[in-house]
Each structure stands twice: as C-alpha cells, then as structure tokens.
Amino acid sequence: MTGTIALITGILLVLIGLWGILTNRDIIRMIVGFSLFDVGIHIIMLSIGYVAGGTAPIIENLSDIGKSYVDPVPQALVLTAIVIGLGITAFMLTYAVNMYEKKGTLEIDKFEELKW
C-alpha cells in the first residue's frame, strides 16, 4: 500500500511540475516546476524499490544477512538523480540570472531572438 501511495504521489508531483513548467511564463517558476518534476520522479523511483516490510539496507552485523531489506539499487539511483537535479537547477538558475542581466526580464516568451 505504501508503495502504491508513493507511486501515485510521485506521478501527481510529476504532473504538477509539468503543469508549472508549461503554464508559468516566469522562468524562475518554471525552474521551480522542474524541481517539483524531479522530486516526483524521485518518489516514483523509490516506490519501485520499496519492499513491503523491508528495512533500510544497512547491515550492521554480518549475521543480519538474509533479512528483508528494501531494494538498494533505486536508492542509489535516486541519490545520483538528486545530485544531478541539483546540478541542473543551479545551472538553470545561473542561466536565468544571466538572461535577466542581458534582457531585464524573466518572461520566457521574451526570449524569442531565434526562431524559424
């Protein structure tokens, strides 16, 4: 049950993030949308690795081997994904800052120098 709830939560977050990305003209808020999108994905990922009744995969004693643990792989992936997400967010923000300095606005539809 926990897994399903998490999965649905994740999907909802992804959709909310998408909504934010697609409807906000403000670049900062688009970036916020992206970070929500990311969080949603992370939740989905973890729900995949969830094992009902499993504990965190930290084996303090070798004798604990064989107990029920949750899947460590998605956790490792999420760890990586979170860091990547941070990188991308920082990166987008830097872009945003520079774009603002160049044009004095953060409306996405004002940056149409290149088209067609």
Binding site: M1, L22, I58, I65, A76, T80, A90, N98
Partner: protein, 233 residues
C-alpha cells in the same frame, strides 16, 4: 484560457500514460536478482555495512563518478557564465549581529558534521554527497553573514581539483592492481567489518567526493552571490 485547458488535457493524457503503470504495480516482496546479490553478498564482498553506499561507490561507481562530473560541469558552467559576465559588485548589507555570531559558532560545527557524514558513509546513512552539501551549507551561512567578505575560488578550486583528480586516479589504480577493477574498492584491505577504517577504498572515495562536492557547491553559491575570482583572496 483555451491554451490552459489544452495544456491541462495534455497533462491528463500524460498522467494516463504514467497511470498505465499503476494497475500492474505492487510493492515487491522479493528483491531482483542483482539487488539480492548486493544485500546478501555485499557486506562480504565490499565490507561496507551501508549497502546503498556500497552500490553507490563501488558497484555502480561509474554512475557516481558521472554524478560528480555533472556537478563539476555545472559548477564550471556557473563559473564560466559568471566569468563572462563580470559586473561591478555593490556592497551588500552585512548580516545581523545574531547571524554573524551564530555563524562564527556554527561554521566549524557544521563543517565537522559534514566531514562526519561523509567519513561514516559506509556505515551509516549519509556519504560524500550529503556531507558535501552540509559543508556547502556552512559556506552559505558564511556568505549570508558576511556578504562582502571575499571568499575566493582559489582554495576551493584547488581542493576540488585535487580531490577529483585523486578520485579518478584511485579509480584507475584499480585497473592496474586488479583485473577490470576500475573503481574497485578492494585495492585497500577491507578491514574489520563495521569499523571506521573498513570497506577498503569506500571511505577514502567518499571523503574525496565529500570534499569535491562541498567545494563545488560552495563555489556555485559564491558565484551566484556575485563573487568572481578576480577579487579572490
């Protein structure tokens, strides 16, 4: 308005795509083969209690190297853009007295905590990334408290470079010392299970990662704060 409705429709449809996965989903009761291997053989093979760390640093070490690279690239881009768009720095209002005092007190503590987190990554939750982020938070505090103090990229950059370089070299050492052992942690003895100096290279790597991530994130923060290396210490 029509556009928003349309977007909503599209998002609902996207939701439907993702939803198609939900009916077939139920929480696992058993681990997939590979994960089971990690959980069952991991402690013996790598000597790390925290299996997630074992996976992150060794089994999927290449991902982690990539991850570090992404942060590195991101900070390089931030650096590049800031470098290209130097603009004059205005003096900013200093942080409040409380903040400054608190910072003076907390800064070393937070640093220490960060180091603790990454050194113990193979035993307890946490590791290089979390530790690095914590170190960066310390820098954030510093920047908030003393916005006009010049904290240069110089030192950070050297730390970052050296730790990254060492990380790669240690990884490559595995290729020399063992067969197909890029990023193999077992080039150092595994040590006693559960102790600080165990799990071979894992704590070393996590330390390097922590230093690197910490310095990178710090320099991102500093860059965004408007500092550029020309005015560094």
């Amino acid at each position: 308005m029509v556009k928003k409705v349309f977007i909503l429709l599209m998002i609902i449809l996207t939701g439907l795509i993702l939803w198609s996965f939900v009916p077939g989903y139920e929480s696992r009761t058993a681990l997939p083969e590979v994960s089971a291997h990690y959980v069952e053989k991991g402690p013996e093979e790598l000597g790390a209690a925290n299996i997630v760390t074992a996976v992150v640093v060794t089994y999927r070490g290449l991902d982690t190297l990539g991850e570090v690279t992404i942060l590195f690239a991101a900070s390089a881009v931030v650096g590049l853009l800031i470098h290209l768009n130097k603009n004059e720095n205005k003096r900013r209002r200093e942080g409040s007295e409380i903040l400054r005092t608190g910072t003076a007190l907390l800064f070393p503590l937070i640093l220490l905590f960060g180091i603790y987190v990454f050194i113990n990554g193979h035993l307890t939750p946490g590791g290089g990334f979390q530790g690095g982020a914590i170190i960066a938070s310390a820098v954030v505090l510093q920047v908030l408290a003393y916005p006009n103090r010049k904290i240069g990229h110089g030192l950070l950059s050297v730390i970052e470079s050296l730790s990254g370089f060492t990380y790669v070299l240690l990884g490559a050492a595995g290729v020399f010392l063992t067969v197909n052992g890029f990023l193999d942690n077992r080039i150092l003895p595994l040590g006693e299970y559960g102790s600080l100096l165990s799990a071979g290279l894992i704590p070393v790597i996590y330390t390097l990662v922590g230093l690197k991530v910490g310095s990178e994130l710090s320099s991102v923060v500093i860059s965004l704060n408007g500092e550029s290396e020309e005015e560094q210490l």
